[in-house]
Subunit: 340 residues, 3 copies
């Protein structure tokens, strides 16, 4: 895969060397993301950060990643603030906006919309999430986090075991992650969900074709035993036909410290694509886990910045230049990875 000048729309664009390349470049971003050094390599470059669906986390993460490389960010949020409301096509919006920037990140509520937009864009487009379809940077940061957490235990992604927990039907993060896991070998997966929210057959087939061993569970305690990583997800309530239907699944699986202690090996990694639902009835990941050192959810979001910096650097072809435009940080910097 050649990154330079290309769009990042789907995880299906990535083969193993491409994923490894992203991770290697992300590793090199650590000094900048940790505020040890700053780089000005993209000084004068403009990111158009287009969010036609709310997402504070992803939006700010992409924006900060671009700023950390020295570039500027022009931002658009919400459909109603845009000429799409006046009947403009995605084609026109893409032709126009790509004249204003060097690279575009786009989130949009409709599946396929970002790919359609990218076709008309004159600059590289990165998919920031298109409806229930894809969210490739999330899948990359999830896999990168698994790689780092497992590496800290002296092991590698090949051969590891993961429990996917919660709404496996509507969670696009889970689907994109499954696709990426197929680049690795010999993975064991525990799928833990209510039957109605189980992983779609398409993703199941993909995993099995890759030679991974997949087992389904409807009981949380049984499913989380004997795996390296727990990947918990919230119920994607906004994707359900009605709130009433969504409510039926709220709070069905709740991981807390006591269940963790009873069933998991003491170094089992806990992940979540966030946001986790902290309302009293939901809490798929209890806050009593906040002091658990294996709770990797905030290392996960920190890694998102590294991954997004890496994608910008690769697409704009400035990987080799980054360190040449760098110098030490001189202001107060907090420790980034505080023990929670």
């Amino acid at each position: 895969m050649d990154f330079t000048g290309n769009h990042i729309i789907s995880v299906s664009q990535f083969d193993r060397p491409a994923a490894d390349r992203v991770f290697e470049v992300a590793d090199g971003m650590q000094p900048y993301a940790m505020r040890k050094r700053i780089t000005r390599v993209l000084q004068g470059a403009i990111l158009s950060n287009m969010f036609f669906e709310p997402s504070t986390r992803t939006r700010v993460s992409f924006g900060s990643a671009f700023n950390l490389l020295g570039g500027e960010v022009r931002e658009t949020t919400e459909v109603k603030a845009s000429s799409l409301a006046k009947g403009e096509s995605l084609y026109d919006t893409a032709r126009v906006l790509s004249g204003y920037s060097d690279v575009i990140v786009m989130r949009h509520p409709e599946a396929g919309s970002v790919a359609e937009f990218a076709k008309a864009s004159r600059v590289p487009v990165i998919n920031g999430g298109d409806g229930d379809n894809e969210h490739p940077s999330q899948a990359l940061l999830d896999l990168y986090t698994m790689r780092m957490e497992i590496a800290a235990q002296g092991r590698s992604l090949d051969g590891m075991s993961i429990a996917l927990i919660g709404d496996l039907r509507f969670g696009r993060a889970v689907h994109s992650l499954c696709r990426l896991l197929c680049l690795y070998s010999n993975i064991r997966l525990h799928l833990i969900s209510p039957p109605e929210l189980s992983l779609p057959d398409e993703e199941l087939d993909v995993l099995r074709t890759a030679g991974h061993k997949v087992e389904s569970f409807q009981d949380l305690s049984a499913g989380i035993q004997d795996v390296d990583i727990l990947y918990v997800t919230r119920t994607q309530e906004e994707r359900f036909p009605s709130q009433q239907q969504a409510d039926r699944y709220r709070g069905l699986f709740r991981l807390n410290q006591s269940i963790y202690t009873q069933n998991c090996a003491p170094n089992t990694v806990i992940m979540h694509p966030l946001p986790r639902d902290s309302r009293a009835q939901a809490q798929e990941l209890d806050e009593d886990l906040n002091q658990n050192p294996n709770l990797a959810i905030f290392r996960q979001t920190d890694n998102g910045v590294l991954i997004r910096m890496a994608l910008f650097a690769l697409v704009l072809d400035i990987v080799e230049d980054i360190d040449n435009h760098s110098r030490p940080v001189t202001w107060f910097t907090a420790k980034r990875h505080l023990p929670v």
Copy 2:
């Protein structure tokens, strides 16, 4: 006209030398807008980009133009996010905000509001559109585009012919353009619109006083013959008293490739202030023209960045300094003017 430190509120501020000066400075912005070079001339300067009415295109275009000169952008969108909602006067808002920035761009739904705001501002204000009144940077970029497109055919603005098509009554872009056209000599205009949406008498008088030849048409095919430039506009539905009344004009004039081929010389330029209305019933400019090399609508929006850079550079008096603070771009840059 002296630009330094002055407001840009109306096209009526421009005489021919002033317009020519803007175009000359805009020409010099090409290397920066095309991402051949970057300049840092406005490093440390702040634009306050105030949009009290949605407009992705104009807002991002002004913001990117300021970033391309090296400046920072602080942005405000929507009335409800502002203290205007708490009963604050435009006078107070202007006094306060002009203490936070070096230059202000303002769009506001009420005609005359930007001029009122500018009176109280302590820094230069550029009108980004005030209701159905004025949008001077749009008129300047339209005229600049006509000048470039016609120059590519070895001719100049004086003596050219233009068909203005669509809603000539509510389209402020058309009105401001008519005023600017009076700075040139011997122009022939075809006005093509339903009788109820025809150009107001005031603009007609202005054109005739300037010695231009004006002819009205209610038939698209007849009107677009024998002109150099077609300037198509959408129906400004939001300016109509009711949606029902607006609907009567939707789709009344539709330019497509077949009508173009049958009636126009093969190098007739097609322009549109955008957004064009791509809903099935509207389509005043059919997407089957997207492959037509004379479709200048995206060169038009690209030129908007040049014009806005030029206005900032003139108002802040840094034209002579731009190249001194410049260096080559080192990241991947797409071709800007791809054949559509």
Copy 3:
């Protein structure tokens, strides 16, 4: 008080040396805020400007202050655009966002929310206003303005006299100001308000314990006599249980030029935390005072930039570095403090 790396949540954190230190650093920001020089000391640093309640003035003021120090700003406005809407806790939002930035400014409609957020943040948090609770940078800029205006008359804060006028019950700016005034000695206060909107007992006690002399008035003319500073506030209508109840107090106290001339010494300073309510029925500070040279309300907002620059500089520990990264401004700069 040690500023480096610490949160600024409440005025109660400040003792007299801390307030004096902020004012001293703010004085040093004058050349940058006045656009005589630019500094790049925070180049590469990122402010996360989080506004979960609308506030153009405070938001842009903080953002511009950070830009003037050379840093970048990533902004979030409104609750609905955030994952708080998906049930995310303030704890999670804080953990995540503090991985994206070097410092966070947060405004939130709920009292106490910013303190709660700060507890989980890994980077310093500055309170931009939490409901009816605190707005420390407003109190600091108010006090800084009093100090400057009084200093111009050759006097100091100790021993001065202030009339607080209007809604003293719901105005958090007034409450925070009262707390800060206790750092100074021998102040005389006139409290002018309808009985139902009088200063809460808690604040009264604080003032009296500090040894200040407090007198209450229900008549504007009587209360504004024989004081150095008039601090006028609007009725905080949005804090009332109903609009109907708020309406009863609209326009109850109106300061205008004629009342001022009849009752005040000619150099009596007029302040207001803004926005002032300019609707016909309100006008607690009449626009006929706009030409009065003692109207300090726009010097007040200008000073807000100085104070916020100082807070950033202190918290990020770069005060001594600012001038080393500076150079003269080369673009057109308007006079900042024009006579109104």
